[in-house]
């Protein structure tokens, strides 16, 4: 079974949960921008939620299927069409040989996920992961999929509930929560106030490495040099020009800018899907809350 790329997108790639265990060698995790949608697409198809899937950015690739198979599209709504007929997000779709899947416009969100019932070719795996820190889907590429023999995929009430929960979590106007980091207390008190009160938007120069934020200009109480230390997805770094950059899925492993804090895991998918024109606010939370929320979200996926 296989799928072919007939037109290359801007920066589409295979992702899974990320490559961990090698950051001490400078190898970044490069997981999905929005782990919730990636997990959801797999859940809907009855796959293991950690199966590798395609992450698409607009303008996305055009796919042609070479065998019948089931697919699911989750995350951003890029208006998917199969043979020019519109198809729904977050459901299983049966496709047939010669069917073409394309995406018309970025209606909402930034990262769209395309999952296949079954398993992607193991050959693409390196160091326990399919994650790549560069574009991996190119015109003419074929991806073999070991499709499970399954007649139908049911979307039961449990799955329906997860779909709704994920949508509610992804697309809302709640504050993006973070836990203050090592350099938080080095911020000038007026800058702390600005950071807590003012709204931010994501700059158009943002990408999978980081989201540059437009908002109030912040500064440290006194100039300070930091020794580099590890950073994570969601780290808020203060750049020397007063702007914040939020490190995202393709972040480098270490950083030497002021580390103001980390956005909590459960809020990262929402930030990852926020379009540039949507303002958002930051707010402080604590590790107990963050852990409880994360456990609760992950419990949706355990049946």
């Amino acid at each position: 079974m296989s799928v072919k790329i007939i037109k290359k997108g801007l920066s589409d790639r295979i992702v899974d949960q990320g490559r961990f265990g090698f950051q001490d060698l400078g190898i970044q995790p490069s997981g999905p921008m929005d782990f919730l949608s990636a997990q959801l697409a797999n859940l809907i198809l009855g796959n293991d939620i950690t199966e590798p899937i395609f992450e698409l950015h607009f303008p996305a690739s055009v796919f042609e299927f070479e065998e019948p198979m089931y697919i699911c599209i989750s995350g951003a709504n890029f208006v998917p069409v199969i043979n020019e007929k519109s198809v729904a997000l977050n459901t299983s779709i049966q496709v047939y040989p010669k069917d073409q899947l394309s995406f018309l416009q970025p209606l909402e969100g930034r990262s769209c996920y395309l999952a296949f019932k079954g398993r992607l070719d193991e050959n693409k795996k390196w160091l326990n992961s399919y994650a790549s820190f560069k574009t991996t889907l190119n015109k003419g590429d074929h991806f073999a999929i070991d499709t499970a023999a399954e007649n139908n995929i049911s979307i039961d009430a449990l799955k329906q509930n997860v779909i709704q929960q994920v949508q509610k979590n992804l697309f809302n106007e709640d504050e993006i929560r973070f836990i203050p980091g090592p350099a938080w207390n080095d911020l000038d008190p007026a800058s702390i106030q600005l950071l807590m009160q003012e709204a931010f938007t994501i700059d158009s120069k943002s990408n999978r490495m980081g989201f540059l934020l437009n908002g109030p200009s912040l500064q440290l109480a006194a100039t300070k040099q930091y020794l580099s230390s590890a950073v994570t997805m969601g780290t808020l770094q203060l750049l020397p020009n007063g702007q914040i950059i939020v490190l995202m899925a393709d972040h480098q492993t270490i950083g030497g800018y002021a580390n103001l804090g980390q956005i909590i895991l459960v809020d990262l998918p929402r930030l990852a899907q926020l379009n540039n024109h949507r303002p958002f606010k930051l707010s402080i939370t604590n590790v107990q809350t963050a852990h409880a929320l994360y456990r609760s979200i992950q419990s949706w996926f355990i049946h």
């Binding site: 090592p182 580099s228 230390s229 492993t253 852990h291």
Partner: protein
């Protein structure tokens, strides 16, 4: 009160949460010269423990970061990391001798201006002869403080004062794999072709990063550069390509 040799370890480390899935352990008193032996030993101890749910252990300068999977830990992360620190201190006092001698890696480097494309310019800035610059760069023994920027890129220091050079104001779009550069107190080798702003003074024929063997360097390693001529560089470089 447990002590290792002369020095108490109890107050040596500060623990701080880094968001909801990482923990930062820092030397309370900062870094002296080179890598701190106890911090290096702690990193090695934690790796050897293979704690389930511990996803990454990243050593850098005066700190060590643990990245963990929330679903594996029901306990407060402070409690969890303090237990690990206690286990480390107990083990360290039992083994007593801090026998973690860092390995010394010798790296052949060809300092020919055709490969060290900034060499002549660098000698001008350093106000010394090219030979003196090479001599200074190869005499020092460097510590790998951390890896980052690219897979296998090791930040090594400290570069002798007189040959510390500023970065290029405008980074090059392509620096060749194996290029040896200086930026301030740091020296390093580009593991693969990449953009870069360091002053390039030579090139090594060694493969710094390999998809199978991975990184030649780890944090804590000692490194010394060994000057080789252009003929030997090409010979070793061809061998590296065949392997």
């Amino acid at each position: 009160m447990v002590s290792l040799g002369m020095q108490s370890l109890d107050n040596k480390f500060q623990v701080q949460l880094l968001g909801d899935h990482a923990i930062l352990i820092k030397l309370s008193k900062g870094l002296n010269a080179g890598m701190d032996k106890d911090l290096l030993a702690l990193a090695q101890f934690l790796k050897a423990q293979k704690v389930p749910g511990m996803k990454d252990i990243i050593l850098a300068y005066d700190n060590l970061t643990l990245v963990y999977d929330i679903l594996h830990f029901d306990t407060n992360p402070y409690f969890f990391v303090n237990q690990l620190l206690d286990a480390f201190i107990t083990e360290a006092s039992n083994n007593n001798a801090s026998n973690n001698t860092a390995r010394l890696i010798k790296v052949p480097v060809c300092y020919d201006p055709s490969l060290g494309i900034d060499l002549e310019h660098a000698a001008l800035i350093a106000k010394c002869s090219i030979d003196a610059l090479i001599q200074a760069h190869t005499t020092a023994i460097y510590t790998v403080y951390c890896l980052g920027f690219l897979p296998g890129f090791a930040y090594m220091g400290d570069v002798p004062k007189k040959i510390q050079l500023p970065r290029h104001p405008q980074p090059r779009t392509k620096v060749a794999a194996g290029s040896v550069g200086i930026a301030g107190k740091q020296t390093g080798i580009y593991p693969m072709d990449s953009p870069g702003g360091w002053q390039i003074i030579g090139r090594t024929p060694l493969k710094i990063f390999d998809p199978v063997k991975l990184s030649l360097f780890s944090a804590g390693d000692q490194v010394q550069f060994d000057p080789i001529d252009l003929a030997l560089f090409h010979q070793l470089n061809n061998q590296a390509d065949v392997c």
